[in-house]
Symmetry: C2
DNA sequence: CAACGGATGTGAGGAAATATAACATGAAAT
DNA sequence: ATTTCATGTTATATTTCCTCACATCCGTTG
């Protein structure tokens, strides 16, 4: 449900994404420039990548390594887009983004994560936050 | 298994952690100064927080809100440390950190994430990377 | 072959995020 | 009334990231 929200939560700076994907900053920015990814931005205009973004970049990298060019990748990725409830999800996200300010959204997510982590947990070993990224 | 590795992978800058935990940067740094957390550092000396770190901060925050002071929190947290295979886990992590350079470790993790995400996956919806953070 | 466009590297210049350190402050403890 | 704890605030330095421009390599095409 809010899985999509969690997965699209802006978390990582480009430096981390670089090491996670082994792509250069130049490449990442270039792919964004050509619409393959669409990371969020901080107030100060810095890119903030979500899990979805990183997933997508790994997918892109894999295709690049197979010799697929950007146009081809664009095709492949667009085909992977869920055919069902596409507009539904889309509108849901937009709804949230329009009705709530960025700050409010962030706070909401944080609250959700926090509360969920609060109960039914006895050992730190089990973890709190990370449980909600699966 | 490598769960602990994933959970302790340095990912977030302090700004994100602030919004995730609703703690001030001052607080976060203060808690580190007093040994409650121990985030990794980038080459350029910036703090890099893992899921474990964020979990811990949420735990700390919860205790703070209950009126527990730092000494008390230190106690509580130390008690949560797994009594079993403590040294085992510890030594395992240290082993990795000693035998492999930071860069190699990072690359290894990235590889693992990447490869695991590569197979048995047909829809982007399912996600690749995020599956490995649970 | 020469020219062109796609994909990436590199460097300049500037802005944002973070680091440490020092001092300020309110509340709690002594 | 002091002292200590936990946090805020401000100043200054560094690192990371931004955009933009130009260079380079390479495959495709006229």
């Amino acid at each position: 449900m809010n899985d999509e929200i969690r997965r699209s939560m802006p978390l990582f700076p480009i430096g981390i994404v670089k090491s996670l994907t082994d792509l250069s900053a130049r490449q990442i920015r270039y792919y964004e420039e050509h619409g393959l990814i669409n990371p969020a931005r901080s107030e100060g205009n810095r890119r903030q990548f979500s899990f979805n973004d990183v997933d997508r970049l790994l997918e892109i990298k894999s295709l690049i390594e197979k010799g697929v060019n950007l146009a081809g990748i664009k095709q492949v990725l667009s085909m992977k887009e869920v055919p069902e409830n596409r507009e539904v999800e889309q509108s849901k996200v937009e709804e949230i983004h329009n009705e709530l300010s960025e700050k409010e959204l962030r706070r909401m997510l944080q609250q959700e994560l926090f509360n969920a982590g609060r109960h039914g947990k006895s050992s730190l070993r089990q973890g709190e936050l990370s449980r909600f990224f699966h």
